[in-house]
């Protein structure tokens, strides 16, 4: 499955990735509206969804699904804005901003990769075995 991989040691905290992400999806240069977020103080830490899929099982309306490429996506038409996925993301990478009633997250589009001057972020593949969501058919023993 496809995901945005990272190497904290290469990050120089320039914030280019945040700018391109928030501008692309929310037409605004605002790191609070960026799916990828870089801490502003201390050693660099890149916070972004690793597509683990834990949020899939949390959603009460099944608005979160994994697409064909393995990317975890929210269907905002279905979402009822409960923000449980935000509270339950083990990476704290599911985002919420008060201007919107749905959460948002990295979809591994890779636009930020192009803007990163040091190659600290890159699109990569990992094994499907790393998907953490339940297999519902097995759960209910249908």
């Amino acid at each position: 499955m496809k995901y945005l991989a990272k190497d904290n040691s290469k990050c120089i905290q320039c914030g280019n990735c945040e700018t391109v992400c928030s501008k692309t999806y929310f037409k605004e240069d605002n790191y609070e509206k960026s799916c990828i977020q870089i801490n502003k103080e201390g050693d660099p830490e890149i916070n972004v969804c690793n597509q683990c899929g834990e949020c899939i099982d949390i959603c009460p309306v099944v608005a979160i699904k994994r697409d064909k490429l393995g990317v975890v996506r929210i269907d905002k038409k279905i979402c009822v804005g409960c923000f449980m996925c935000v509270g339950f993301c083990p990476q704290l990478s599911m985002r919420q901003h008060d201007d919107y009633i749905e959460p948002f997250k990295c979809i591994a589009c890779g636009l930020c990769v192009k803007e990163c001057p040091t190659g600290a972020i890159y699109i990569d593949e990992k094994s499907d075995d790393e998907a953490r969501e339940l297999k519902l058919d097995e759960v209910f023993r249908r």
Binding site: P60, V80, G81, F83, G87, I101
Partner: protein, 717 residues
């Protein structure tokens, strides 16, 4: 059965079109009135006075019920109503436990108002459809459903002859009937009772929600007080609401941001702490089965004992490992990260009309495991699940059924009633086959099941009159008060909890106060004044949930880190603040804790005076069965002899050479006297006189001196 055929056989009795409204700060500002006698439907405005005095939810329900009924109204009088109301916070999706409906009616068990708090999607969808409450009055000639289409703005009353009555089937049928497709099913919510509700006084209401993973209609219960009986007596088969565009901001909150922040903070807390604390996400309220046993609080064999070696077989981990599906989102409304609405999937039924079928059992909640299990001496998890399933689908309250069956089992064991009385049923403790047969009899309307279905209060009378039973003894062991069966906790060693049960408005249900740990385990309430303070604060605090549409469980079934270091851990101060923040976020009202208590005091005292108006709200009605206070029988005393002997010594009674009977009598004198003293202290703290009547000056102080209330209490001052 073909859904299309069912729908085609509906006969339209009334249709009402309305403008789709807009919710402002949690209020739709109008309520829906449906009369099924003359088939009229109308809209009523929500006044500022209603909001100020009654807030919403249970407050609105009681207010409408008061206006609809008179002192002579009986549960089956046409003017009795069923009122369902959510409250201003109902339908928020960001905080856990914000989808509750409060249901009010005059109870067939107690003859006074009952209120029951229930999840499922009906309350929120009703509000989004444009209504803060639904009032149903009258009686239909034939089975009807009321359908509210919140997308189109149409309400109809329709005769519905072909659908099933049992909750689990009817819920599926109507969800299927009114949803456009699979994805639309979660936008339909159904209220049903069941066949057992028709033949007993302990009928419940099932509130549905569609589970998109299990692809089945789940049921939550408005269990207490027999509202399902009223429902079927009115010939209502179901109430259905549909609303298809749920989003997180439909309440048009005053400040959505504070709700978001508070909600996410709470979700994180559940994520981080639940598995270290109560495992609510794994097993729901049933997590406490073994805890109650450990503290001698689990009712065993009609509340005679508080623990049993066989509890091992029904402890929560057994259900987790063997029966309850793990890991799926089990909230009874969107945004409930506590997710306690657990279910056993693919459960094969062994008895009854659905024998052999694989079903989803909604439960077990603690009360079911204790009431249907240990209290009836049944220590078999599969038996508990089967009883749980049939109670729900037949529309029978698990608590009243458990407590009433336990009472009958004890009477049978003591030869107060025999096989002739039970119609040949072997009614001994532990007999699952008999217990489940009683339920099937309730569904069919025959046999001893229908006797148990009358509840403990009426059984006592019948056993005295028909079988010459000793009335005093039955009063001691029959665990009911005001006509309602006790819920499933042994209160013998906690005086505060005896009051927590005994001084309730609707009857002995623990939703007003659960003080056993504070009182008995942690000894935080040493004096009468301390107990009285707790018996003021907690009932008021808990009443507040029902005014706004909140669920009580997320308040203290998990606590924030560091809660034990706060001034008052039992109150969970950080969570109280969460509620004040969320209520502010929705309504724009900045309340302090004292304001919150005041809002509840108004409605609480209104309900109290309502009881008095109905002839049951005075001191004598707060008298409690001695089994709730101490050992009635020799076996009970001797099973915990050390404890009771110790207490007798502490109060200066010389136990040497005394028989058990003498000791029981002495202990009883002491404990009953304590209960009376507690009553005095609590009444005083609550602003009531020694008769249990709210004082007029107090009603003035809380701004609840409405002329119609003064009229009821003025001669009782």
């Amino acid at each position: 059965m073909d859904i299309k055929k069912m729908r085609e056989s509906h006969k339209l009795l009334a249709e009402y079109k309305y403008e789709l409204g807009k919710i402002e700060r949690g209020y739709a500002n109008r309520t829906l009135y449906v009369n099924i006698s003359d088939n009229t439907i109308s809209s009523k405005p929500v006044t500022e006075t209603m909001k100020e005095k009654f807030v919403g939810g249970k407050g609105f329900g009681l207010w409408y019920l008061w206006n609809a009924t008179s002192p002579s109204t009986k549960w089956d009088s046409p003017e009795n109503e069923i009122v369902i109301a959510g409250g201003p916070a109902c339908g928020i999706t960001q905080y856990a436990g914000t989808g509750k409906s409060l249901v009010c009616s005059i109870s067939p068990l107690t003859g006074i108002p009952i209120d029951s708090n229930v999840g499922g999607y009906f309350g929120p969808l009703l509000k989004f459809a444009g209504w803060d409450a639904l009032e149903v009055q009258g009686k239909a000639d034939n089975d009807i459903i009321v359908y509210i289409d919140g997308n189109k703005g149409v309400v109809t009353i329709e005769e519905a002859p072909l659908e099933a009555v049992d909750g689990h089937i009817l819920g599926e049928q109507l969800t299927e009937m009114y949803a456009d497709n699979e994805d639309d099913k979660r936008n339909v919510a159904v209220v049903t009772a069941g066949t057992g509700a028709e033949h007993t006084r302990m009928g419940l209401l099932n509130f549905s929600f569609y589970d998109p993973r299990r692809k089945t209609t789940r049921l939550k219960q408005a269990g207490r007080g027999g509202i399902g009986t009223v429902f079927r007596n009115k010939k209502i088969k179901a109430l259905v609401v549909k609303f298809s565009n749920v989003k997180g901001n439909l309440n048009n909150a005053y400040d959505q941001s504070i709700i978001n922040k508070t909600g996410i903070k709470y979700h994180k807390e559940i994520h981080d702490l639940d598995h270290l604390q109560n495992n609510m996400r794994k097993i729901g309220t049933a997590n406490i089965i073994e805890v109650m046993d450990e503290y001698d609080l689990l009712p065993v064999m009609n509340f005679q004992y508080g623990s049993h070696p066989d509890t091992e077989k029904i402890k929560s981990t057994v259900f987790i490992e063997k029966y309850i599906t793990q890991g799926v989102q089990d909230g009874c409304w969107y945004g409930c990260s506590m997710a306690c609405a657990k279910a056993a999937d693919n459960f094969t039924l062994k008895t009854g009309p659905y024998k052999g079928q694989k079903v989803t059992v909604d439960g077990p909640e603690y009360e079911n495991a204790a009431g249907l299990g240990s209290n009836c001496g049944i220590f078999d998890p599969a038996a508990i699940l089967e009883l749980n399933f049939y109670c729900d689908t037949y529309g029978i309250d698990t608590i009243s059924f458990g407590t009433a069956t336990a009472f009958a089992m004890e009477c049978y064991g003591r030869a107060i009633i025999n096989k002739e009385a039970t119609g040949g049923l072997e009614l001994n403790f532990g007999n699952f086959e008999t217990a489940v047969e009683l339920l099937h009899q309730m569904s069919r309307g025959e046999g001893f099941g229908t006797v148990i279905g009358q509840g403990v209060h009426r059984m006592k009378k019948m056993f005295v009159e028909k079988y010459g039973a000793d009335a005093d003894f039955l009063f001691d062991i029959g665990m009911e008060q005001k006509g309602l069966e006790y819920s499933e906790y042994v209160s013998k060693e906690s005086l505060a909890q005896q009051g927590g049960y005994g001084f309730t408005n609707k009857g002995p249900q623990h939703d007003e106060a659960w003080l056993i740990f504070m009182d008995m385990v942690n000894n935080q309430l040493p004096t009468f004044e301390d107990k009285a303070e707790a018996l003021h604060y907690f009932p008021m605090f808990r009443t507040w949930f029902g005014l706004y549409g909140f669920c009580k469980l997320p308040w203290n079934d998990i606590v924030p880190e560091g809660n034990q270091y706060t001034d008052e851990p039992a109150k969970v101060p950080e969570h109280v603040q969460n509620y004040l923040d969320v209520a502010y976020g929705v309504t724009g009202k900045r309340l302090k804790v004292s304001d919150m208590i005041r809002e509840s005091e108004r409605v609480y005292n209104f309900q109290k005076i309502f009881n008095i108006r109905m002839g049951k709200g005075l001191r004598k009605d707060d008298k409690a069965p001695y089994r709730s206070m101490g050992p009635v029988t020799k076996e009970e005393y001797e099973s915990r002899q050390e404890r009771y002997d110790k207490q007798l010594k502490e109060i200066g009674y010389h136990i040497e050479g005394k028989t058990t009977e003498e000791k029981i009598a002495q202990l009883r004198k002491y404990r009953e006297d304590q209960y009376e003293q507690l009553m005095d202290a609590v009444y005083k703290r609550r602003g009531w006189n020694s008769k249990g009547v709210p004082k007029i000056e107090y009603l003035k102080e809380i701004k609840m001196d409405l002329p119609e209330l003064i009229e009821v209490v003025k001669d009782l001052q």
